[in-house]
Symmetry: C2
Subunit: 134 residues, 2 copies
DNA sequence: ATAATAGTTGCGCTATAGTGCAACTATGCA
DNA sequence: TGCATAGTTGCACTATAGCGCAACTATTAT
């Protein structure tokens, strides 16, 4: 992995959004990796929205993404050290509205649908499924 | 001090700007407090610009300001804990361009002009002095 | 091949952030 | 009382960020 030259404020900019904080919080709190459809079912936000936010986080050096067939798995990094410290901050963030907790509960539930540790099912939440037959 | 209810992303938003990072870096690295004119001479940015950035940092709960006569002193906080961790992140930030180091050097120089630990002289940098007689 | 689906992205829209200028307030000193 | 100065802020301008929609790519299954 080559450490791109990223301006310091870019990293904070990447965390300066509630949706992106929810994503990072989920991955950092569980240490898990997650594909997009699992995130859609956990955060209850449309895939195009999360996809763009994931790109921003990736470009800021806050997570890494790996393609596996149709799925793309996103997970936290292990370097550099100040990114680890940032993860600590995110973990220590207050959760007055219980949003992080709710995301986490849905995520854990959603992980049960995995088979052999891999996601196999696509978006489950009714309102975010792509035009499925009712 | 009452801990206002500040959305998590506001804190990161406040650090998502290079000028504000320079301010925080200076205060956190030295543990010093600083008035506006000292910051102007250290960062070489106009006072109206820094004043506004300081307000944003204050409102985000990243520093506190205290008026003393004509001067207003700004300094880091000691709570809550995740703000301390954020200070740690800022301290650990890479300084590839040497901007933080240059700010710090000018700041330390500028501190020599204090008398009894207090600033008494106003803006020294030529280009940022308010319409002084040439 | 072709359909289904996991994920991405261009476009247009709106909201907000950062800036310089200039006017403003507030404090101390002659 | 009036001036100098530390600091703040309203205004207009520009740039950028986030959004929904819809079209797109890529991969798997039939």
């Amino acid at each position: 992995m080559h450490l791109a030259r990223i301006p310091s404020d870019t990293v904070f900019q990447a965390l300066a959004d509630e949706t992106r904080l929810r994503i990072i919080h989920l991955l950092v709190e569980t240490g898990e990796e997650s594909c997009l459809c699992e995130l859609v079912d956990s955060l209850l936000e449309p895939s195009y929205k999360l996809s763009r936010h994931l790109k921003i986080l990736r470009q800021a050096g806050l997570l890494t993404s790996q393609k596996e067939g149709r799925w793309v798995y996103h997970r936290m990094l292990e370097e550099p050290s100040y990114i680890m410290r940032l993860y600590d901050v995110v973990r220590a963030l207050p959760d007055a509205d219980g949003i992080y907790a709710a995301d986490l509960a849905r995520f854990r539930e959603r992980l049960c649908l995995r088979d052999g540790g891999r996601c196999l099912v696509g978006i489950q939440s009714e309102e975010f499924r792509a035009e499925a037959v009712d």
